[in-house]
Symmetry: C3
Subunit: 349 residues, 3 copies
């Protein structure tokens, strides 16, 4: 079971064109295409007649024609043509979904259509900030969406999983410790926040190159979560030599219970001339290789272990304060919706 | 559950030789081979001893020897040799099946052996007609057999799915309409028939080449269904320039609930000299590419959608009269057999 | 369900190094590595924190560090470090398993740790015999472990399945019979034994090359089974020209209900100079090709047939006396353990 009455991110803007596009979201196939005004249309991806996927058909003007027997549906899912037949049965119409394009992503409302509220779409305004050049990436992940989200909610994983690229081995047994570790979590309306600052730590290879750092840095990250599963990460690397700033967003949408659509954007306040390192292509390559090389194998192997060690329960620690706060919030939402709390949402109160 | 007391087509004649051949039919593995008189033998594909597939063994004269421990079975499934042992337990014998070779296909009776009636095998005499040269093709399909059959029972799909090759966009929204559309369906004994004629329609690329047509044609097709799932299609393209005639048969046999053995023959009254276009090789290539390129991806994607949109129900239209008539017939047969009607058989009365 | 309080062979000694190694045994993932004293450590392959596999982590001295967030566990599974946190929750410790390295294999006790008894590890002393050079092989098999074991308990399969390499077609229908077939089975403490001797039979290509035989031979094999599933085979080929002797062991460990880890060693009293045929490399190549070419496809196809012919029951014959004796023993063990007898263990009393 998934949360309803939510905006789910279903595609990067660049993925949706005037050619029909199929994506399974919360176990249900969706059809996406742009109409003649370049607005995104979202329908069930099935012809009512015989369940053929409309996404194998043809967009004709604002409508979609089924490839199998030529039925035509309009933007609202109304069947408007059946070959060699004048009357159209009421049951022939299919569902359409409220859809909005914002911040470079396509968001679809899954729930009661009349209750769709555009203000609920996460505010990712840094993607449009002057002097920033957002880079967008899509990943398909063979793991439950919450495992992918938790990976981002516990940023301490960067110290180990990404010790060679983004993090630095902080808190290692018998190793050098940072001068100071600050970490706090708080709620703000619909959002859950956290602040973590490590003072005087080694700088890993990527921020080293980005900021031209030679000495240790202070590493700050501020996170912001909102439902159904968007994690905003604000990242700072700073010392007497330089200070660099990154805002990136990670949006996890369930495809099924055990597979996830993972969308991200990455914005920075350096290297945006388009020619100097890091260019957009450099950023894409770096982020793609770290996430597909480190994070995704990890969450996919967690998923396999959870399956094999059926019923085993996590041991949350101090670094999991944000995960725990988010899980409590999610548990309340599932309960309010009248469905049982998924096993991926561990709650300790 | 599948229909019993039926002849199921299990192989093209050319597939069965004196080497053992395994094919799963209605969830059960069958062993097929030709004996010394070239007659087809059909047994369970398992040694009674330890369930090794006999199809990995060796045909020795009329018998089959298991590869694992050397047990020997005769044409009737009787175990006639156990190495180093004189007595043969009664339980060591395996089942054999009534089998007939006809019209270039191998038909196996699944049901009560004593009730096998050769007259129930479909009459496909055009395959032996003088001046015809039948072309045979086998396809393995990842979809329920009824989805494959329904594709052939609703020939109107040719207008769209095969608009570039076999059909022509007839009945397209706001497009040119045929002068006349005739369509009727009727029962005749064990068979269900339909007649469909489109007057004055564009001719698609394949019949254009076959008949040398330059102008619009009248397109007639007569279909004939019989249990468990054979669809005969009689096809005519005609205008003042020429008239060509095709008889082709499509036989769908369940491998499992979601996979199908699909056998076909294609006979024509043109291009049978063996040298002029279309040769048998041309026909094989054309039919193979259209069916594996258009039809099979479509029914396999229907199968996937039916799985995802669990419980969704089709919306039959006028063009589905033949499908509906056949489904009613099938529903009666399943009911008579005392099993529930499969969800693939939609019945509206 | 699997037998408990047993030593399961989980790896060849050569497979376990100071790099972490994952192997699923009886449905449970195990982590194996060598500590600073080269002793094998065996833990659950999961970090208690978030179920990440520890095998993707790093061995640091005697400990293992999780790759995800840097948790550290010692040889006994005790969590000894959580980054940026002093207290370690009791629930953070994971299980360790008694482990022994013997005869070139790694054996893990699955059951009550305190009841682990080293004397229960099978005695395979021929692997250490002077003048022998054991060759070790590992296979992964897509079949239940008992199907693999039964293949070895009924050595008569060599007469057919390996007629070209190891056996010879003995007992073939209407063929030449051996002068004499002796076959007996008996119990000895925890072991079940059998003796089978064929007098004056053809010699197949492998023993022919090994012993330089030109004439028929007497073929003797003595087998010895012990729980959970080790089969020792003592093999002799003898005539007036020569006599050669082989001891080989086959150890079947369940990965899951339908997949098996299959370990073997092969020792011989000929060709052990290291230069003359057969060298260890020759032996490896011959055994690997026969087992992966003949035996594994056979048991995997049995597994598929057992699945398709759901509920079918074997027909044991005289040659199956050892299988039957072992199955009775296994049935008693499962019953004593209070679990139902698996369908792979057929019992006739």
């Amino acid at each position: 079971m998934f949360l309803t009455n939510q905006w789910y991110c279903v595609a990067l803007s660049s993925e949706v064109t005037d050619k029909p596009f199929r994506r399974i979201v919360c176990n249900e196939p969706l059809l996406l295409y742009r109409n003649t005004e370049s607005k995104v249309v979202t329908l069930e991806d099935r012809c009512s007649h015989r369940q053929a996927p409309l996404s194998t058909g043809e967009v004709i003007g604002n409508n979609i024609q089924c490839k199998y027997h030529g039925f035509v549906f309009d933007n609202g899912g109304r069947c408007i043509h059946i070959p060699h037949q004048n009357s159209i049965p009421e049951r022939a119409h299919i569902s359409s979904y409220p859809v909005q394009e914002k911040w470079g992503f396509v968001w679809v409302w899954k729930g009661v259509n009349a209750e769709a509220n555009i203000n609920q779409i996460p505010d990712l305004h840094w993607t449009e900030k002057k002097g920033r050049s957002p880079v967008y990436i899509y990943f398909h992940v063979k793991a439950n969406h919450q495992l992918v989200a938790d990976n981002l909610l516990d940023i301490s994983h960067a110290d180990y999983l990404h010790s060679d690229t983004l993090g630095s081995k902080s808190g290692v047994m018998n190793g050098p410790q940072p001068d100071r570790v600050e970490f706090r979590t708080w709620d703000e309306g619909n959002k859950v926040h956290s602040f973590r600052k490590l003072t005087n730590v080694e700088v890993a290879s990527f921020p080293k190159k980005w900021g031209g750092f030679k000495k240790n840095v202070d590493r700050t990250n501020i996170q912001m979560w909102e439902a159904p599963n968007t994690v905003h990460v604000h990242l700072e690397f700073e010392n007497t030599e330089n200070k660099i700033l990154i805002n990136h967003d990670h949006i996890m949408t369930p495809e099924t219970e055990t597979t996830t659509h993972y969308f991200m954007d990455f914005t920075r306040d350096f290297g945006i001339s388009g020619t100097e390192y890091p260019t957009d292509a450099d950023v894409y390559q770096e982020q793609y290789s770290v996430i597909s090389g480190d994070d995704l194998p990890m969450v996919e192997s967690q998923q396999e272990n959870i399956h094999l060690y059926n019923g085993v329960v996590d041991v949350p620690v101090k670094a999991d304060k944000l995960i725990s706060a988010v899980h409590r919030r999610l548990a309340d939402m599932y309960t309010k919706q009248g469905v049982s709390i998924p096993s991926y949402v561990l709650v300790q109160r």
